[in-house]
């Protein structure tokens, strides 16, 4: 069955992720492996840009599963997350039945609440069987949805089923692989976290970040990539409103290599700082002495 293609150990998991260019910490590989083996949703929390969403994409590609993404936002409700009836088509069906002189109400009702009038949204799609095996369901930035939606997720996440009043209960034959991410703009209720394996994704250590930069920005020189990583790591020690994530590091490294920069200079850093820092206050603070200091730290040879 499908589980045959799943990695059989933490090391295999690590390899699988690495083969797709995702250089994960061992702890992340462990929880991912566990979530696959135990069939439990994986709840990833951490600062923006540390690779929480990425892991779902990588998993789906590596396992050859469909990726179903539900981007959360305030006001997300059942009709845009689970299913919706195609009312226009239903209306036409009713008119057609009328025109044909069909007046059996029971028959009409069961006809128009059939599968073909249902518009399936991500959560329902994720419960459907797929030839390639259960899909990867990414519930992205759950903290942006409101509490009511969170409560709705409880049933889906524990039983992998959805109840539709006109239709009945839809249950997944095999539970999907669920990855939930949150940036902590709001605390998620304990009840939901309890159903998941929880993991805090941290900024990577310098060596790992260097490896990530090298694999993601192929043309970059060894010297520049090292300076970039040192600079970013030093920046994270500063008291900024928003520290740069790995995604920003990659952006910046790409920008620098596009500009053909050989090494970091105050000029080139000043011009491209917007790729790293996203708040004007933070950028202002980086002028002058702070910039000099961090730059010196990053470019010193040792």
């Amino acid at each position: 069955m499908t589980s045959a293609t799943l990695p059989a150990s933490v090391d295999a998991m690590l390899e699988l992720l690495t083969s797709r260019g995702y250089l994960a910490e061992r702890s992340l590989a462990t929880v991912t492996y566990l979530s696959l083996r135990m069939g439990r949703p994986l709840f990833l929390e951490g600062e923006a840009g540390v690779g929480k969403t990425e892991i779902a994409k990588v998993l789906s590609a590596a396992l050859g599963r469909k990726l179903i993404r539900l981007q959360c936002y305030e006001g997300l409700d059942v009709s845009s997350a689970v299913y919706e009836w195609n009312s226009a088509a239903q209306m036409i069906a009713i008119r057609m039945a009328e025109a044909a002189g069909d007046t059996d109400r029971e028959q009409l009702s069961s006809d128009i609440f059939a599968d073909r009038y249902m518009i399936k949204r991500p959560l329902l799609q994720a419960l459907e069987p797929d030839v390639a095996g259960p899909p990867v369901l990414l519930i992205d930035e759950l903290d942006r949805a409101d509490e009511a939606f969170e409560a709705y997720l409880l049933e889906i996440l524990s039983d992998f089923q959805v109840t539709i009043p006109e239709f009945g209960t839809v249950k997944a034959p095999h539970p999907p692989i669920v990855i939930i991410t949150s940036n902590r703009t709001r605390e998620i209720h304990d009840a939901l976290k309890r159903r998941c394996l929880y993991h805090w994704v941290d900024y990577p250590a310098a060596e790992r970040e260097l490896a990530i930069v090298k694999s993601r920005v192929p043309g970059i020189s060894a010297k520049l990539s090292q300076q970039v990583v040192r600079f970013v790591q030093a920046l994270r020690d500063q008291d900024f409103y928003k520290s740069p994530g790995v995604a920003e590091t990659i952006d910046w490294a790409t920008a620098l290599s596009e500009l053909d920069a050989r090494s970091l200079t105050p000029q080139v850093v000043g011009d491209t700082l917007g790729a790293l820092l996203k708040y004007q206050d933070d950028i202002t603070r980086m002028q002058g002495d702070t910039l000099q200091k961090v730059l010196k730290e990053a470019t010193s040879e040792n």
């Binding site: 929880v31 566990l34 009312s87």
Partner: protein, 400 residues
């Protein structure tokens, strides 16, 4: 040696160890349910338990559900899976945060107070008189400054606060609900109803947006100069937290403490006790600027994201008032829907914003109100229950 605990051939001992570890975590203040223990056992069966790091990550993913607990878990894990000694002794040496320590029992404070009150020995008639306040007494109580109240009056004021009913200040959400007067057509319901008449649409069903109380975030100054007010304000915040679900409370003096969870307890005394247990700098100095900085950096994005109203309760007497304070106030102001500054100093008729700190903060608030007696708190409640103005910076209701 550590892994001896997890010797697979001794399944019973293995289970015992997990149960014991879960108990250790629980007594360290982490919420660990029996479900998690079962999860942990099944998880450990699919990984290689010879690898200590993997065992750590596995158990962490199951037992830790909040990032804040990660540190406690780490220490507990290192202690528990170190040697097979009695874990309890070792646990005592863990530097746990105050809130993790055993909580005092509900009403302990009230019992204690009752025991030490001389009133207990007084005649019952006297007590009765105390409690039966006449109408005029009540009026006086409404206007009386909290700082000048006697113990009995404070008791009465607390009761009045508990009775305060907070009407819901509504915030339109983007979710919808069946509403006969709503503006949106509810096609699904309309269609279902039409089936009853064989497809003829007789009733049109509508939907309207759900209204929800706006979240409130309170930043309460607990420095020495505010000490006469803090307890009453905490009672007030506890009372409104009961009525509406989304109230976050932070205390600050020289440092910032999130006491939202502590205040959630039903019993006000227990809530206040666990609140004060989690604060280290009670009635000390004030560092408003540093505290606001911490709030802006660590919490603003998490608690202000849904159009929150911020209540800043402070006298604004800041020693290190400089441009940083203005900067942090500005940031706070820009990240919330409405910033209301409640200042007990406003009770003085001729109050002028002379102190440097107050001058710095004043330009960045939407409203500046007194809170020193019951009637001003009631006015505050009335303000909170009015429909929110659209997201614009209204005029400052200056004290001068």
């Amino acid at each position: 040696m550590a892994i001896n605990h997890l010797a697979p051939e001794k399944t019973e001992q293995f289970a015992d160890n997990i149960v014991g570890f879960a108990r250790a975590l629980r007594s360290a203040g982490m919420p660990v349910g029996p479900g998690a223990v079962i999860d942990a056992m099944s998880a450990l069966q699919v990984i290689d338990i010879g690898n200590r790091a993997d065992v750590f990550t596995t158990l962490e993913a199951i037992f830790v559900k909040r990032h804040e607990h990660a540190l406690i878990f780490k220490q507990a894990f290192n202690l528990f899976f170190r040697a097979s000694e009695e874990w309890k002794h070792m646990l005592d040496s863990v530097p746990l945060p105050e809130e993790a320590r055993k909580k005092p029992q509900a009403g302990a404070r009230r019992v204690q107070e009752a025991m030490s009150q001389p009133r207990m020995t007084e005649t019952p008639q006297h007590q009765e008189q105390d409690l039966r306040l006449s109408v005029s007494d009540k009026e006086i109580l409404q206007k009386k400054d909290f700082a000048q109240m006697s113990a009995a009056e404070i008791t009465e004021a607390l009761r009045a606060i508990e009775r305060m009913h907070l009407p819901q200040a509504e915030l339109l959400t983007r979710r919808y609900l069946p509403d006969p007067r709503g503006l949106r057509l509810d096609l699904r319901r309309t269609l279902r109803a039409s089936l009853r008449t064989g497809g003829d649409i007789i009733d049109i069903h509508r939907r309207g947006p759900i209204q929800k109380p706006a979240p409130i975030v309170a930043l309460l100054d607990i420095s020495g100069s505010m000490s006469e007010y803090t307890r009453l304000f905490l009672h007030f915040l506890h009372a409104i937290g009961d009525a509406r679900k989304r109230v976050s409370v932070f205390l600050f003096g020289t440092r910032l403490t999130n006491v939202t969870r502590a205040l959630r307890q039903r019993d006000p005394d227990e809530a206040l006790a666990s609140c004060s247990a989690s604060v280290e700098d009670w009635a000390g100095g004030t560092r408003i600027s540093a505290s606001l900085h911490n709030f802006n950096k660590l919490w603003a994005r998490r608690v202000l994201s849904q159009g929150a109203i911020v209540l800043l309760i402070s006298d604004g007497l800041e020693r290190e008032a400089d441009s940083k304070l203005a900067f942090e106030m500005d940031r706070l102001h820009r990240s919330c829907r409405r910033l209301i500054w409640l200042n007990p100093l406003l009770r003085f008729g001729g109050f002028e914003a002379k102190a440097q700190g107050i001058k710095m903060m004043l330009p960045h608030v939407d409203e500046f109100r007194p809170v020193h007696n019951l009637s001003s708190i009631q006015e505050l409640i009335a303000t909170l229950s009015r429909p929110l103005p659209p997201h614009h910076r209204s005029l400052i209701r200056s004290a001068a």
